[in-house]
Symmetry: C3
Subunit: 423 residues, 3 copies
């Protein structure tokens, strides 16, 4: 894999020990009713591959519903084989090797049918879900749940619910949102007071079903700000999107996190739909001109709420290190999306380790849609972690090997347990 | 040279193979009527040296026309010898060693006269132009041509014309621009329609003379935006600079790129004349507070036009990686100006390789004014590329040596051929 | 220490030579009447430890005046022992080892009493101040002096006064500032003319007492701009904070720097009091959305004033490299505050070395409040410098060892002497 340690190196020794750590993955998009892939079609349909293939010129036709899955795989693999320099390619090669025994040095698109058939056999065999997790090894995976998700039919000790609140905050004006909230909570929201009641119902529902976090992604232009009761009541009388209403609902959700004692994951900086002609989930980008100072009023107003914060680029990581270093309730969380490539992980991770107390770093999350991606994505992170621990700490004598492994345990497991405790 | 691989290392082995690749240089300022230096005066007058010398305190007197070339060299060398830590110094030392056999470890300004005399002899000997290119080895060099450049007297298969459009877009109001365009195209521009006719004449002229690209540098405050026919017509009735007119002309040029099927190089982020007292070409700086989202309307509106994009700093590179990864028509291009130093090239290149499909990366361009700078500037890039390929790909087993060399070929030659095809 | 060179490496060889260089430290907060610590309480009360401990959950009670120093140390050490991954922890461990012979691999908070007692004995012994400096070895330390500091009772050849002007520029409206200035200078400021007289009195006072620099920290929103005499006179009639008055006073101070020939240190980008509930000196953060172009009018208007500039993050460092490369009077200065961790120092230093003439780089300053922190903070910098010199210059053959050591001498001593000459 790209940038992995050299065999025989100190980093490789550390990696072998780090690979024993049983991981808690604090953010994913796993659908608990179908957590594992059924074939390589579920792997190749991951937006990382469809968007990169599209970026290389692949027409979108093969992504339409009803298109033959096998032919879609043939098409996508043609393009994926031309991006052998990317981190995403190395995730795929790692999966194919580990789960299907694929042993070529370079991906050959002519192997598609064979891989397709084999993947159906392997991935649909009994016990595959467990085996797939064990390749991590991953013990717990946090989910991303819509506010009206029933949260039933899975074990919340393995798949931990997390209340995703983007729709409530940013799409209140969209048809059905208000009604769906009313159905879930029994409260028809028309002002600040009814909003507060509905959200409390919602939080209680989620907590009864094992939820341990609330989450949202925020656009670059967002400023966290308390909205007065009067102003917020006004906002609920409008149609259409409204900055004030978004700010007010967001603030009320933070208030619920405070009351119910659960962390609020903030994924800061994504611009939705910058490339409207892109593939599904491949249309969002970012604007580097943001600052965490836009969220400072929130950090100040809710000192008991933990805010794991994710950012999209290295420049923003400089701020995240400083804000996590100063604010007791700000936690540096994972390596998100466009920042989730080895070169950026390495520099961001090093800065976090040099500047933030270890308990305040959530090392990594998979962000995966299918379990098969957990192991290679975590492996990429662990390889970089092993190199940084070897070069910056163990080789210079700043830490013993045991200390370094214990630091890795904090990053991969203990901190997630501490920050998102089971109730 | 700064940061070059260690003799005997895997990176050095790769570098030796990479050095065989015959380069296509997709951006330079070579004057085809005098492509090579006539003496070291042509080397030392490169703005990198005059501006750094001036920054160290050199008075500007020696840069005036009519000043003795030999004495100018003496003066500049005094200062250049005091910047032995810089990348620019190592380009010069590399040229002096390779072309003049200069063998000192450190530049001694007392050698000036000897170097001057020798350089006149070597550089003015028959065949020097070819020898100089062969040191790359460089097969093709793209030019930067004013819109009324005659484009004659050189071989466009070696020196490829490129239509530079800054004047038309940003200096329309300056005396003579409109008239020069009328002389070249026979069209007197007074509104959108006549602009469209003039630009089509211009593009046809350039294409008949072998042009393969259009190019522009954009200030940090620029937002790409379509301007309505009515508004643009209005703008042409004004005197003075106008944001709307610049946007309208720019958009019309992009339309021509679409119609004529040629790429549009965008060099984004330079602020002109920040230091008005600086030396010629040493007055421009940048403002990091920009985002590629300012250009997203362009990328969306012209899906068939390829946009090789250059940026000025690592923070902006994070965005460039993401935008090239998502937009099929955005290409990450070279390491521009203030970002063209080893430390920044290394981190920017690694991020591009980890996140962008290889075909969408134009590895490097020389930006040179004289051919002698092609070899050392490319060597700097190739040294870094060799180290990244060794450390991130070959040593970890992610690529074979042959795969890595093929990747280097894409970056140094094939992608330029693919992106800027000969017509 | 984190990221230090490996024993036996070329970098370690260079480090041993670099460690002989007698340092001039161009910025600190040393109180010359009590430059050294009296016990570990003076070490642990450094804001880096109190803010990081607070960020880990330490209540602020122990920081109140009157709290037992010994018990405060017990409390802080409990938290500090949990941040063994940070650069700050490694400074402390280095001090404890070097000055108190502490030899554990990891800090054990149970050792607190023993360390406390021993530190009182060692630090209060005669000659400790000299010994402490000799561990650097540091010859001169620049101070940070309020405008009405008496500047007496210390040797200005060792502790060099520096006029800090934040209060005059940004807190003019606060009770007592105007009066204190009147007391120091005999001038009651009511308009531009009286301001000019008062500042000249002030500068003369400072220069008579050995001052060699003027300094200020600037918030991200600051734009340097000349204010007309009339407008500034108007501003002095207002109460309350005023942007125009701040700009006007700032400009007048720069004018004094020009007249009296002393450099003006600019520390650009800090937002004060972002976290009002934080510990003392642990409340300030930054906003990355700034540009040095905000200061360009200053650099242009005062070509003979040297401006050593510090920035707070790597993104801003890209600009600082470019501005120092172009403007003769801009100097890249140290690694400030949140940027003072090994990972960021390394990338910022490499960029500066590759792009800025060596004479225009002030390598490092301690920013310390007690002398004990000079040696470990400088050691961190020297370790990184040694690795960069080894990897980027000596190993590739771009410099001999002697050249590399001479470069280190410029960064650690000579440039400070050149830029801040004794009068």
């Amino acid at each position: 894999m790209i940038a992995s340690p050299i065999p025989g190196s100190l980093a490789m020794d550390l990696l072998e020990e780090i690979n024993q750590i049983r991981i808690i993955d604090p953010h994913s998009h796993i659908p608990p009713e179908a957590p594992a892939a059924k074939s390589i079609d579920d792997l190749l349909s991951y937006h990382y591959f469809t968007e990169l293939a599209h970026s290389l010129g692949m027409p979108k036709a093969c992504l339409a519903e009803g298109y033959s899955a096998r032919e879609r795989c043939r098409e996508i693999l043609l393009y994926v084989s031309r991006m052998d320099n990317t981190a995403q390619y190395s995730w795929l090669m790692s999966i194919l090797k580990t789960t299907l025994g694929y042993s070529r040095q370079a991906l050959d698109p002519k192997d598609c049918d064979q891989l397709y058939d084999l993947s159906e056999k392997v991935y649909q065999a009994p016990g595959w879900e467990n085996q797939s997790l064990e390749l991590g090894p991953i013990d717990q995976v946090f989910l991303t749940n819509d506010f009206d998700d029933p949260l039933e039919g899975f074990d919340p000790a393995r798949y931990v619910p997390c209340l995703r609140t983007d729709e409530l905050v940013f799409h209140w004006q969209k048809p059905g949102v208000k009604e769906r909230l009313a159905r879930r909570t029994g409260v028809d929201v028309s002002d600040r007071k009814s909003l507060a009641r509905a959200l409390r119902e919602l939080f209680q529902y989620f907590l009864r079903h094992g939820a341990r976090a609330c989450a949202i992604s925020l656009p670059p232009g967002f400023h966290a700000q308390k909205v007065s009761e009067g102003d917020l009541n006004q906002e609920f009388s409008h149609q259409g999107a409204s900055v004030g209403r978004s700010q007010g609902i967001f603030w009320e959700i933070a208030t619920c996190c405070e009351e119910f004692g659960i962390p609020f994951d903030l994924m800061f900086g994504v611009n939705r739909d910058v490339f409207p002609l892109g593939v599904h989930q491949g249309r969002d980008l970012f604007d580097q001109r943001i600052s965490l100072i836009q969220l400072a009023p929130l950090f100040n107003a809710f000192p008991t709420v933990k805010f794991p914060v994710s950012v999209l680029s290295s420049p923003q990581n400089s701020e995240l290190v400083a804000y996590s270093w100063i604010f007791p309730n700000v936690i540096a969380s994972g390596h998100w999306w466009y920042a989730n490539i080895p070169s950026l992980i390495e520099q961001d991770l090093r800065s976090r380790l040099h500047g933030i107390p270890r308990e305040k770093i959530l090392g990594y999350y998979s962000d995966m849609y299918k379990l098969e991606f957990g192991p290679p994505k975590y492996l990429m992170f662990k390889q970089i972690l092993a190199r940084v621990l070897a070069e910056d700490y163990v080789a210079p004598g700043a830490m013993s090997r045991a200390q370094a492994i214990s630091l890795a345990q904090d990053l991969l497991r203990n901190n997630a347990e501490r920050i998102f405790p089971s109730k």
